[in-house]
Subunit: 350 residues, 3 copies
């Protein structure tokens, strides 16, 4: 297979500079040039690696890395250049920003962009080719609007927020500072609200908006609906993966993390610092307190009032075995009743 | 948090005008100016509210609304201006259209749109910036094509239908009148059809199209595949939420409602007036009669021949407790067999 | 309902030409003109049909088709023109390419496309209106880039690969030859990587790319994230349906098929020739060997080391009955323990 060209031109840094940035203790050659990051087993000379999981300790002997970030407890396990820090994984995260090659949208308004006369675009903001900024919209300082994006009427994109290509923001959407929305994200689409009118559905026009805090990341193809009357709200520091659905009037507390494929139904409230794993369903009009964790493919059908970890579903098995057990699932209530009968029969004989 | 700017400039209406529109009995000041709608607890002076769920009756005392829509049975519970109707929720739905601020795409063809010479665009239709209308496509009267949309060769968009930004319609797609497709909707992509050819998959080119009826709503990022030979069909009045997948040759009956994240596999037939909750799976080549309701995260593996409500899955529990029970799921068949043995042992002693 | 206009102008072929193409034995009129394909029950005169499933054998008597492809064993069941082949379904797949009307993007660079000065577009490639090709990107011979697509910096689109409208490829993405990506596909979005930093999440910039082999099909709204350090990899001949999520550093072996709504979490490895049905979840950092098959809505929580079919979940039932059984699920462990007590009581009495 070919190699991705994404890491062709890293900006070299010296180990000393990186130690300084991390406030790490450097043991070794401060002038060693580092051109990128890699795992212990993949690293080539010139790259820096890290040990955050003890299971990979064995690779310290064979790694080709020009330096390793590790906890002082493991310092003796590695003889090369090392950066000693309390939290090597966090140090790696910090350095990932240094070596990122994600291109900025070129500054200014691309001649092929379409910007309404009364839209307000800050001179330091960037609007890429074929993006469309509707009337009354505001693009704040340092914001980057990718190719083919649409920013609807009167919507606000906060400072330093980045929209990747083909994002759609409807009218009346407020996005905070330093957010990152990936391609195909939709914010402000109508909530799924209809009133039954005899045999047909009468549309309930969605009059609320969407308010998104600062430092929020939305993954590719994630959708956030506007509120029916009040606004849908996503708190500061919330991170949301790809293909997630946030329905109308949902409220998500600060720093909650939501993995791919999860759907949160209308008016549900998710607390702060929660983690919802992939493909979780949350039904409408319920509340989860702070610090709730839900495992993958679980369905949350009622409010959760105590922090902790919650699950539903069944374990995976070979289909032939699974089928035999699954049939019994439909007999569970009668099995339980039969067990009770036996217990009653047994009781007097004791 | 900031407030969404979406409800900045509502068009004021008098209570008398609104009563007239709803054919409601007005008790109170017909000249009272109403600028918008809100829930009982959120309403500010100048806004109209409604009581449709008895649980919120307590808010009638404290609401700041300038008027409330309610059922005559509750008329005595509220002392302010009131509109009496048989179905307050339906009345709210009707008024939501009056106060909607969703902007229309400006009439005519935007100079930055790209319209093929032989496409037929009705003079009253609207084509937004950077939309692309391919050869032979037809955009009927009053239809609105949002920014960045693509309408493929020979496709038809019916009168008054609205495509929000960045919708993709392939070639040979027919969309009826007064439909509403949200951003990132895809209609007419290839069905997932491949024939195994030894160890590889040979693509089956999808020769059918998609035919969508009138008054159909498709949510953001929803996908509808074209048929393999015949067309995929979605009936009149069908409402579909975000992130839903409709595979090739699926047929969906009129006024069926499908919530977010649901996937319907190839050639499945869903009846009329069904409701599929969120994240439901329907396997291919099965049929559901009219008036079938399926609860969230259920998998429909066989045809359903009787109207009613259907479910699969397990209840949510604390992960530690769930794990103990989940392990037993893999033992269910042997538990049932052991129970039977006990019952047989017991039988002769009775 | 209207008929989709998609099959308006098929290119007529003679039965003799088609027999030649399939290397089939022709029994009947070699000069018979065939304008398209249809099922036995839908076929009109001038169309060719096929019998691949014995259940449809009864339609051989009444079909209006001008010819039928069938296995020699069934030749006597049909009296009209016939093409005899060992694998009629594969023959149908081959002919589907002949009758496909999917339009090509017009050759050359559309004047409304936006192509960076230093992008390399092969003269035989096609770039549709409002597509954006970023700096350093390469579009190889015969490739077609649909309307509104974005191809990021230094990304490579291989020969004869087709991107339908509004696809987004980020920077540093390598796509092989003869791939087909449907509308709204996203490749190269950031993997969902964050390090907890006290109470906040620190973004881990995703420094890897995505490498996609040859003959890969990605369905509408499918997303493939870039790797954290190394690349996300999709092998040759992999076919992926709509709304699928492939997380960072996933590796998918050649000719694996993945149905709609499936989510594969970070660093999971899927073998060759696997099939994942719709809405399957695969947790992160596990491996599936070659030839593993997973049924719909199953969650794979651990590595699978033996080929075969695997499942999780429970059967669908009427909600009222399901609820009774579901309640017992939460009692399963105690039911099993009570059963064991009874068995112990019973044992000595035998």
């Amino acid at each position: 297979m070919l190699k991705s060209p994404s890491s062709e031109t890293p900006a070299p840094q010296t180990l000393g500079e990186l130690a300084n940035l991390l406030q790490a203790e450097l043991v070794g050659d401060a002038e060693c040039q580092i051109s990128g990051l890699a795992t212990l087993s993949d690293a080539r000379p010139g790259q820096l690696s890290f040990l955050s999981n003890k299971h990979y300790r064995k690779y310290l002997v064979s790694t080709q890395a020009s330096g390793v970030i590790l906890h002082p407890d493991f310092a003796d396990d590695y003889t090369g250049n090392k950066l000693l820090v309390a939290n090597p994984y966090l140090a790696y995260a910090k350095l990932s920003a240094v070596f990122s090659l994600a291109p900025r949208v070129a500054s200014g308004i691309h001649p092929d962009a379409s910007v309404a006369d009364n839209a307000r675009v800050h001179p330091s903001a960037s609007i890429a080719a074929n993006a469309v900024i509707d009337s009354g919209a505001e693009i704040a300082a340092g914001a980057q609007i990718g190719a083919g994006c649409f920013v609807g009427q009167n919507s606000i994109v906060g400072a330093d927020t980045v929209l990747h290509a083909n994002v759609s923001l409807y009218h009346g959407v407020v996005v905070g500072r330093a957010c990152l929305f990936h391609s195909q994200v939709v914010v402000g689409s109508d909530g799924f609200g209809f009133a039954p009118d005899g045999k047909k559905w009468l549309k309930i026009h969605q009059l609320g908006g969407v308010v998104i805090g600062d430092h929020v990341e939305l993954g590719a193809c994630t959708t956030v609906d506007r509120g029916a009357l009040a606004d849908t709200q996503i708190g500061d520091g919330v991170i949301i993966d790809n293909q997630v659905q946030i329905a109308h009037n949902v409220q998500i507390g600060a720093n909650t993390a939501i993995a791919a494929g999860t759907c949160i139904a209308g008016s549900a409230r998710i607390g702060k610092n929660c983690t919802l794993s992939g493909m979780v369903g949350v039904v409408g009009h319920i509340s989860l307190v702070d610090n709730v964790h839900v495992t993958a493919l679980s369905l949350v059908t009622k409010s959760i009032t105590r922090p902790g970890s919650y699950s539903s579903g069944t374990p995976i098995d070979e289909t032939a075995l699974w089928r035999k057990n699954a049939v019994r699932y439909g007999q569970l209530n009668s099995l339980a009743q039969r067990l009770k009968v036996l217990e009653k029969l047994q009781a007097p004989s004791e």
